[in-house]
């Protein structure tokens, strides 16, 4: 009788003592500062290198066009929130805007046909131009890149370009359009006609302000083997793949571990792996303002230069 | 040698039945003579304790038959009715019956809506409430705490000095928490003494140690003549006693409190025991000039009760403020104005 009693009492004493134990800081964070703590210290009045709140960054009455965020997906930062840093993203955006002030990066989407001129030491004209369809566009900030695909002499060629690479001399959009899918890597397994474009293609002019046309073409795929299991990708721009795949593959596709139906409505998963709309608005407002400012400066410069030229011309005439 | 014989004399005198008269006479004579050896605070305290004990025994002797009174307690943990002894049971005894929490945290009791010391016997059927430092409006508790701290400061001044220095306590003003410090005005008999930080620390330590000795504050109403006997070697108190007695309800009673072996005159109420002190610091000693009593020292301090937590940095900031001279009125004579006026006006300003 006595033994279990004592056991219970011992347990009781242990538990009641537990609350008086000093709290051990989790080791994992002992050499790390939390995101909000860093922010606090950056603005702390006790800090000697204090960062003042910039009034310009606060939300204002500037109306950003709705399409702006889709035209500039490269300004969206890396979405894993516990690895983000405000200052780094700011510096990154500064660099991007500086680069954008020098080189004109037009609006384009996956599916647009583009031409990129690259500085090349070995080329005879010291330049290299490549035309192709944009099949992917990804990366955050300065890491942003796009991939062009073309079939030259019956050979499929793809080139990945870093958008902020200083070697890029010119980016032209020959035909501005969208496709049904966010990535067109399936063109690798489609007949080459779908990815063949003339290198001397002339740009198709689009009315300014008009809606970007959607190319709803459905690609007929080659028979297997493919470089990926396209039947699992829910592609919209592809004709039905049922003829190419076996019954087993169709079954496999519906397996819960592959389909993952629980991820469809997982709100927290989405919140953890994407950037909040409010923050997107903040970033886009800031970028929009800076871009407008830069453009104004550009115009002013051009105007001044123009005036100078006119003056020179007049002097010459005299 | 002389000192020792004096001690003996005192003891002999105190033991005799007519000790107080004889002693006072003796002391007066000694004080008057220039060659007299110095009177020590220790002796005076000893004497006061004797008188206090005697007077209390005398008052207790009046209670021959134990009568019961009905005490209705209101408030947490529950409302209840207690049957207690008249003239013997205190609110503290009631708290002992109700719960340990009340015993430990109560600073004051409210008996029929009037503040009542925790260790003061109840005398009639009453309604009882307990007050503590974290009440909704702890004004009364704060006042009692601050007053008790002044009282303790008196104890510190009497005990901290060597026997060569006879410290005469004068008075302390009405507690005013907003002034940032509690005060005791005393004649330290040290004209040019400006204590160093270490010396102040030593003074604080005396008060701080009371937290562990856990002395109770005992209250006793005594007759003015007894009070005069008690404080006859203190020139300030003996001058004040007639005035204080005149203000009292009976016209001749004086309220005296005892903590450990320290006795002082105050109207009360005071907190239950010194165990409620958390931090106690003596922060400054200022020189002031009283028109009646001449040069005095204004000793200031700051304290925090046990139930309120404060970070050391905040406390030190408050300590810095407590070093400034407290603006409390300088003790002046009661004689300057007629008695009935002093009851109305001065009574509010000066507590004893």
């Amino acid at each position: 009788m006595a033994a279990p009693c004592r056991k219970i009492i011992n347990q009781f004493v242990k538990r009641s003592l537990k609350c008086f134990e000093p709290r051990v800081i989790p080791c994992r964070w002992s050499n790390t500062v939390r995101n909000h703590t860093v922010e606090k210290h950056r603005h702390s009045p006790l800090s000697s290198t204090r960062e003042l709140v910039n009034q310009q960054d606060s939300p204002s009455d500037v109306m950003v066009p709705r399409e702006f965020r889709f035209v500039h997906p490269d300004f969206l930062p890396y979405p894993v929130w516990n690895r983000r840093d405000r200052v780094r993203e700011k510096l990154e955006r500064e660099d991007m805007l500086k680069r954008r002030a020098v080189i004109d990066i037009p609006e384009f989407y996956v599916g647009s046909i583009m031409a990129v001129t690259l500085a090349d030491k070995n080329a005879p004209g010291k330049q290299n131009r490549f035309v192709g369809i944009c099949i992917d566009r990804a990366g955050h900030g300065l890491y942003h890149y796009f991939v062009l695909r073309n079939a030259i002499d019956g050979q499929g060629v793809e080139i990945k370009y870093d958008m902020y690479n200083p070697l890029l001399l010119k980016i032209e959009v020959l035909k501005l359009e969208k496709r049904l899918d966010p990535q067109l890597y399936y063109l690798r397994d489609a007949p080459l006609e779908y990815s063949t474009f003339r290198l001397d293609m002339e740009p198709v002019s689009v009315l300014k302000g008009a809606q970007v046309p959607l190319n709803a073409i459905k690609v007929k795929m080659n028979p297997r083997p493919w470089c990926r299991r396209w039947e699992r990708h829910n592609l919209k721009g592809v004709l039905p793949l049922d003829d190419y795949i076996t019954e087993k593959m169709k079954k496999q596709k519906q397996h819960p571990q592959i389909e993952k139906p629980w991820e469809k409505h997982d709100l927290m998963l989405k919140a953890r792996t994407s950037i909040d709309d409010r923050e997107v608005d903040q970033i886009m407002t800031e970028v929009y303002k800076r871009k407008e400012k830069i453009q104004k400066e550009k115009f002013q410069k051009r105007g001044q230069e123009g005036k100078r030229e006119v003056k020179k011309a007049q002097e010459v005439k005299k | 040698m002389f000192v020792r014989s004096m001690h003996k004399c005192c003891r002999v005198c105190l033991k005799s039945s007519t000790r107080s008269n004889a002693f006072s006479y003796f002391i007066k004579r000694q004080l008057n003579t220039k060659t007299a050896r110095k009177l020590t605070n220790e002796e005076a305290r000893h004497k006061r304790n004797e008188i206090f004990n005697e007077e209390r025994a005398r008052q207790l002797a009046f209670i021959t038959r134990i009568e019961k009174i009905q005490v209705e307690h209101k408030g947490p943990p529950e409302d209840c009715t207690l049957i207690m002894n008249k003239g013997l049971s205190t609110p503290f005894n009631c708290a002992m019956h109700i719960g340990e929490l009340l015993m430990n945290r109560s600073v004051l009791a409210l008996v029929n809506g009037k503040p009542w010391d925790m260790h003061r016997p109840l005398i009639e059927d009453c309604e009882l409430q307990f007050l503590h430092m974290k009440d909704e409006n702890p004004f009364l508790s704060n006042q009692a705490f601050w007053r008790s701290c002044s009282f303790i400061l008196g104890y510190v001044l009497e005990t901290a000095f060597k026997n060569d220095y006879y410290v005469e306590l004068c008075s302390f003003p009405v507690p005013n928490v907003t002034s940032g410090s509690f005060v005791y005005d005393a004649d330290l008999k040290l004209q040019d003494w400006s204590p160093s930080a270490m010396e102040l620390n030593c003074l604080s330590r005396v008060g701080q140690s009371l937290r562990f000795s856990d002395f109770r504050f005992e209250r006793l109403d005594i007759d003015a003549s007894v009070a005069l006997k008690m404080f006859e070697e203190n020139r300030f108190k003996s001058e004040q006693i007639p005035q204080i007695a005149g203000k009292s309800e009976t016209g001749s009673s004086v309220t005296v409190y005892r903590m450990g072996d320290h006795i002082d005159i105050t109207r009360g109420p005071l907190m239950g025991s010194t165990g409620m002190l958390s931090r106690f610091s003596v922060t400054a000693v200022h020189r002031i000039e009283s028109p009646l009593y001449g040069p005095l020292s204004r000793v200031q301090g700051i304290a925090i009760p046990m139930s309120l937590k404060l970070h050391y940095w905040t406390y030190e900031f408050l300590m810095k403020r407590a070093t400034k001279l407290n603006p409390a009125p300088i003790p002046t004579a009661f004689q300057a104005k007629p008695i009935n006026e002093t009851v109305n006006k001065k009574g509010k300003e000066n507590d004893n």
Binding site: P22, R28, T32, V33, L91, D95, V102, D162 | T314
Partner: protein
């Protein structure tokens, strides 16, 4: 160089409690742990002698009063008491043997940059946030305070650097007292650098990115990301066992160990499962490509600076000889003991860029004009 590594490793394992004492000669023996430890300490719990520096007192203070206390704190430290009692210390001159103090930075993450010939490379961003020198101990005293006789004799003194100012009422009194000499608010993090006496630096001196210059090389030491207790496959990259073919409970185990005649037995240092990460690591010889003086950010080469984003990183002048050569050859010594803003005659620009680094303000790289 190896000696320096061992030394710095030894020092870094001591905690901030041991770093400073008012009089090192008096308290030297008490503060240092003499316990012999076999191998490395692989635990996350602080040792028993580690006293808590953080306090969490629930003060029953109204929000208004709490704010008032904060204001007082801010104003107290706004104009610290002038440390001019002993005057500014004289500054030493740089010699090839000089070891200057470092800074305690925070890792912000990585960004790509391009060189002027269009080559892409990764840089790590390190922000120097609110750094101050907290204490300097001369070599003699420092040698005594070690508790054992340092093999380098009395060559190095120590400088304690703190980062991220905090309010004092978060900390215990003993911790707050460490900052009395420097007259700065208590810091969230402290670290210690060994310096030669000619690089002695006065307590209270602020440190910022201008301590370093473009093109200099630095070493970074920090704690790596903690992974907890891990098996042999993740920790050491062993192959594990086969997935099928009758394999029982050996899919992720290491193979055999301890066999082999003369060399049989499990030798010390055998790679086994255990705690992974949360270790001090040094990356040496990283070039500074870019300095942002507005945000106090350094861009250094590579993505190998240890630790997660917002981890503390100790940044100091490199100990690699061949990366210090340019300082000697060019006769271009770094600022001693650190950069003082009053020295600069010209206003500091917002950004410094390396000569080889592409400036985003410039035109695109073009070879066409070379003809």
């Amino acid at each position: 160089m190896a000696a320096f590594c061992i030394r710095s490793m030894l020092l870094r394992n001591l905690t901030c409690q041991n770093l400073i004492s008012a009089d090192p000669t008096l308290t030297s023996r008490v503060l240092v742990c003499h316990q012999q430890v076999r191998g490395r300490r692989r635990t996350c719990k602080p040792p028993s002698w580690f006293s808590k520096r953080r306090v969490s007192i629930k003060q029953d203070i109204t929000p208004e009063n709490a704010k008032f206390i904060k204001d007082v704190i801010i104003e107290t430290y706004k104009k610290p008491e002038s440390p001019l009692k002993d005057g500014p210390w004289s500054r030493g001159t740089w010699t090839p043997r000089t070891q200057r103090t470092g800074v305690l930075a925070i890792k912000l993450g990585m960004l790509p940059q391009w060189t002027k010939d269009g080559k892409k490379f990764i840089t790590t961003l390190l922000q120097v946030l609110d750094n101050h020198v907290i204490n300097y101990t001369p070599p003699d005293e420092f040698a005594k305070s070690m508790g054992w006789k340092p093999y380098w004799g009395s060559k190095y003194g120590s400088v304690v650097v703190g980062a991220l100012s905090c309010e004092p009422h978060l900390f215990s009194k003993s911790y707050n007292n460490l900052f009395a000499k420097a007259g700065v608010p208590p810091k969230r993090k402290l670290t210690r650098f060994l310096v030669t006496p000619d690089a002695a630096i006065q307590p209270g001196t602020p440190l910022n990115v201008m301590h370093f210059r473009i093109g200099d090389y630095v070493d970074c030491s920090a704690k790596t990301i903690g992974h907890g207790f891990q098996g042999v496959m993740k920790r050491w990259g062993m192959k594990g066992g086969p997935a099928t073919h009758g394999c029982t409970k050996a899919h992720r185990r290491m193979g055999s160990m301890g066999g082999g005649r003369d060399k049989a037995g499990v030798w010390k240092g055998k790679r086994m499962p255990g705690h992974m990460g949360m270790d001090w690591r040094i990356v040496k010889g990283l070039k500074i490509w870019r300095i942002d003086t507005k945000y106090n950010v350094l861009y250094v080469t590579g993505y190998s600076v240890p630790g997660p984003t917002h981890g503390y990183v100790r940044v100091y002048d490199t100990v690699l000889k061949h990366k210090r050569e340019h300082l000697i050859e060019n006769g271009n010594p770094p600022p001693m003991p650190t950069f003082y803003p009053e020295d600069g005659k010209e206003p500091i620009p917002e950004e410094y860029l390396d000569d080889e680094l592409f400036n985003f303000n410039n035109e695109s790289i073009s070879y066409a004009t070379e003809k």
